[in-house]
Structures are given as C-alpha cells and as structure tokens.
Symmetry: C2
C-alpha cells in the first residue's frame, strides 16, 4: 500500500468509528507528528455533522461533573458522544492531567461514548490547532455530540472554545473580585451560563451580577440572551436531574436557534478563520523556526541578545528577509 | 528631526525616566503600532539591569494586594519599582481591567513607582511580546525592580511570566481538585510559593501537598528549593509585615542565588529565546496574514472550508509555497 492509500484506509476506518485508529491519530495530533496532517486532509470533507459543545470555567467549578452528567443525558436520547478534555494548564509536564476527569470513565464501557484528553507538549500556540484537528476526528467518527472541556477563560482557552457551536460557561459563587475580569473575558463567548454549587454564599450576588451584565450587553445584534442555570446540589438526584434536563434543553435550543437565524454560518466562518490562521502558522512560521533551531542560529541569536549586540526586531527582520518572498 | 533622530530622542527621554514618553510607548506597544518597534531597538541596549519579579496565581488569590505590599517594602529600601499588571483574560474587551489593581494607585504620587496595565487588543499570541517590550521600557527607565503581575497559570501566562527572573506563585486554600492541574503547570516555573489567606480551611492540606510535590520534584539539577510562605491575615499589620519581610528576603535571596550559581544565564537565554520566537512571528507570519486579510483571501479560504472544497492544511501549504523561499 502506498502512503496515500494508507491514509485513505485510515480515514475510512475512522469514519466507521474505529476507536483504535482514531485514538492513534489523536495521539499523533497531540505529538505534532507531521503524518497526522495527511490523514486529517482525508477526513476533513466528512466533518461538519456534529453539534460541538464547549464547556469552560475556572478551576474547581465542577465542569467535569457537569460534562459527565451531560453525556448520560445525551445517551438517554440515543445520541453518540465524543469528549475532548483539554488541559492547557500544564505546558511542561506533557500529557493531559486527568484529575477528576477519570470520573467520566464510567462511560468507558459504552461504545456510544469516546473520551480523550489532550495537552500540548511544549509547542507554543499549538494547542488550539490540535483541538481543532481532534474535533475533526470525533466528528468524522460520526459522533452526534462533541464536548470540548477546558479549564480557564484566558485567551488560549477562548481560542480552544471557539471550535464549538454552543459554549457553556460554568461559574461558582465566592471567587472574589477577579471574577469581574473573568466575566468580561467570557461575556462574549458564553451562550449558556451555569452557576454551580448555587447553594453557596454569594450565589445570589453572582446571579444578579450576570443578569446585570446581560442587561447591559448589546444582545440585539444576534438576539440570543444567554440563559443562566443554577445548579444547587449534584447530590440531590431529583432536583439535579431536573436542572440537567433544563440545561440540555437550552443546549438543543441554542443549536436550533443558530440554524434558524443563519448564525451558524457566522460561527462556522469564525471557526474556519481560526483554523486557517493556525494552519498558516504551522506551514509558514514553523518550518523557519525548525531550520533555525536545527542549524543553531536560534541559540546564536539568543546569545547576541544577552550580550546586547542586537535587538529581537533587527534579528527577526534579517531572518524574514532571508525566508520571505512576495511580501510588500 | 528625522524619524530616526526622533526615536533616539524618545529613547533618551525614557532613559531619563520620562513618564509621559514611557507611557506613550507602552500604549503603542499595546496597540501594536509598528513605530514602537524602532524605539524599542534604541532602548534595548540599555536594558538588563532590573530584577524582574513575576507574580501569578488563580483569580482571587490576592496577587494585587501582595504586589502592592511588595512595592511598599522595596520603596522602604529606596529601590525604584515598575509594575506591569497584565490581563490576558479579556481578549475581546481591549484594555486591561484594573479591578482591584486600582489599589496600587496609592503609590501614584510616588515618583519612584510606575504602574501600568497591559492587555492585547485581539491579536493572537501578541501579549507575551507586548509584555517583553513593556518590561524593556521600565528597565531602560532605570527601575531597580520590575513586577509583572498576571492572572492564571495557563500556557499564555507561563509565557508572560517567563520574562521574569524570580517567579512568585500565589495560591489560596480551598480551590478544589483542579488545583492539581494548576500545580502541575506552575511547578516548574515557581521560585517562591505564597499561600495567601492561610487562615482558611484547607491551608494545611495545600501546604502539605506543595511540600510533597517539592519533595518529589528533582530539584538537584538547579539546587533551589522553592520556599513556601504562608500569609495568614493581611489585616493584622504586625504579622503581615513580618511575613512580607520574609518574602522580600526570599526574593532577594533567589536573585542572589541566580547570580552566584550562573543560573541567571540560563534564565536570560530562555527569555531571549522566547523574545526571538515572538519577534519572528511578528516579522514572518504577520505580514503574510496581513496581506491575505487585506486582499480578501482569508475570507475566501474560510468559505472553501465551510463548503468542504478544501482542508486547512492544503490551503496553508499553497500559501506557504507562494511566500516562503529557502526552506527545505
């Protein structure tokens, strides 16, 4: 078999839902093995069918528990689910820290559920691209629902979460003043808010603040006002189940709204733009960095900076002159 | 005056500590005005004298309060201080959210203190570069101490914090399970740990966990074991002052250690490498992205992806062929 035929075979197996081939490809994506790219090229035309749901929020907000409950809820409706647990918090250790995500393993026996964790191994700016590619894998496998779970609300997390159609932001009461900063950052990306542990002190205040923020925001442009769902106690099955149904109703409602209002096109455009940006980085910047690292020039340039013999901009302009053509 | 003479003039004024010129330059760095680059080139040779201290940790950990107290402590020792409050959490709103950083304004009347906040306005990956450049400005102004304060411990924050010599990670008890993930991410960057609000439940457990982690970590390679300082109550002036002195002693001790052990060179190399990477991105990738955006090609490519007429990698390779030369 030629390498190309092999890629076509792999893509076929993934489309049939083959877990082993899919897992290996996701691992290769994570490890930034160049060959992964060619398989992605073959599966890409078969993507775009899943409803992609992003879940984000600060550490300790209970995102994994919620994701786990949502899996159960979607499975009851006979929908297949793929989950990508993304860990941008450990740039050094390599490999996503499972932590309480292990909980989701109760679905491990269920063939309708496929859970994978993802981290980058050091490469700057590579995580969002890896997430995008891994989502394509789950999508091509035919999963009806794909959940992307990530920690935090920094810019990198926003990039990750922008791979989804519906974004759920999970908050908890009592996070202190800096919640203001967080809220400003996620305001524009949240489609649904969940206040978890809503029996805690400060829950009412958080709710009131979110409501005030939504009142102030100009939502007339796209017409969707993010609902706020308060979940009091995950250990009280009946009330939790009711809240969960409310949440999954809102999730489906949001996707329907996107389709009816043509806003789905806007989201797809944003997502595609981001993917192009990331692919351009990989095709234009990275080969140059790779060569400079291999021939020792990066080291030499660092030395020049330390000795104040040059500055970063002059050095970079020189390199750009050597590798770029046709740029005005 | 020619533009070049003007830049030399600006650089001179900054070196004399002129607040207005420095502020304007930092604003231009933040807004990614290309002209800022040429001024940076002129001040770069005059940098490298300050002790740069990074403070990071999760939202609500009390970083700003601590930074504020440290300013006071350094001022008592007649050291001049520059502070850069970095806000990576609001990629959309533009402009750093001051929040409780306003507190630091009590030093506004003190000419030995210069506080600036910094955020990016949308550009991906630009924040760390902006921080690096802004630090050069404060450094060239002659500040003895530069404090970089940022929220969170994601990869982007690690990049930001890597601009410093001494990294303080501030934690609070009771953050839930995901503290594990956070701790793994910051393990390798922390030079000093502070447990704030150490009178809270879970403080002992957090301390024990950190100690266990430090015991496990291989610190023999660089020989510095990050101390853990517990701060119980900022409202109790005497005990707080004592803890603060302990902290500032450890900060100075760490810098001394870096110098004595030649590890300062390693840090400088890491920092320079990062700056080169960022400058290369700005000189190689960004001009291409700019042209593709201006001539409408980015939009067209996004459309092709949505219609599944191509995939991101094939499109990016085509563009790379058009703009790159001399790459194997």
């Amino acid at each position: 078999m030629t390498p190309k035929q092999e890629d076509i075979e792999k893509a076929k197996r993934i489309r049939k839902g083959d877990v082993r081939t899919a897992s290996r490809l996701i691992r290769n994506i994570e490890d930034q093995i160049p060959e992964a790219k060619t398989t992605i090229k073959h599966i890409f035309p078969h993507t775009g069918k899943a409803h992609i749901i992003g879940i984000t929020g600060p550490p300790g907000a209970g995102k994994s528990t919620l994701a786990d409950a949502l899996i159960g809820s979607f499975r009851e409706k006979n929908k297949t689910v793929g989950v990508l647990a993304v860990d941008p918090t450990s740039p050094f250790t390599g490999g996503a820290l499972l932590g309480d995500r292990i909980r989701m393993q109760r679905h491990a026996e269920d063939h309708g559920v496929f859970v994978r964790s993802l981290a980058t191994r050091g490469a700057l700016g590579g995580l969002s691209k890896a997430v995008g590619d891994a989502v394509h894998v789950l999508d091509a496998m035919g999963k009806d629902i794909i959940i992307i779970e990530t920690v935090g609300t920094g810019q990198q997390e926003v990039e990750i979460i922008n791979h989804s159609h519906t974004v759920i932001v999970v908050l908890v009461p009592g996070m202190g003043d800096e919640i203001q900063a967080i809220k400003a950052g996620i305001m524009e990306i949240a489609d649904i808010f969940v206040i978890n542990k809503a029996d805690r002190d400060g829950s009412r205040q958080l709710y009131a603040e979110l409501m005030a923020m939504l009142d102030m925001a100009n939502i007339s442009s796209d017409g969707w006002r993010p609902p706020i769902i308060r979940i009091e106690n995950v250990f009280e099955p009946i009330s939790f189940q009711k809240k969960l149904e409310e949440l999954s109703g809102k999730i489906e409602g949001h996707f329907q709204y996107l389709m009816d209002s043509q806003l789905l096109g806007d989201r797809l455009r944003r997502k595609s733009m981001m993917e192009i940006n990331e692919a351009l980085r990989a095709s234009i910047l990275e080969p140059v960095l790779k060569e400079l690292a291999e021939n020792g020039e990066l080291e030499m340039m660092a030395e020049k900076l330390i000795q104040k013999k040059s500055d970063p901009y002059s050095l970079a302009e020189e390199i750009a002159g050597r590798y770029l053509k046709n740029v005005p």
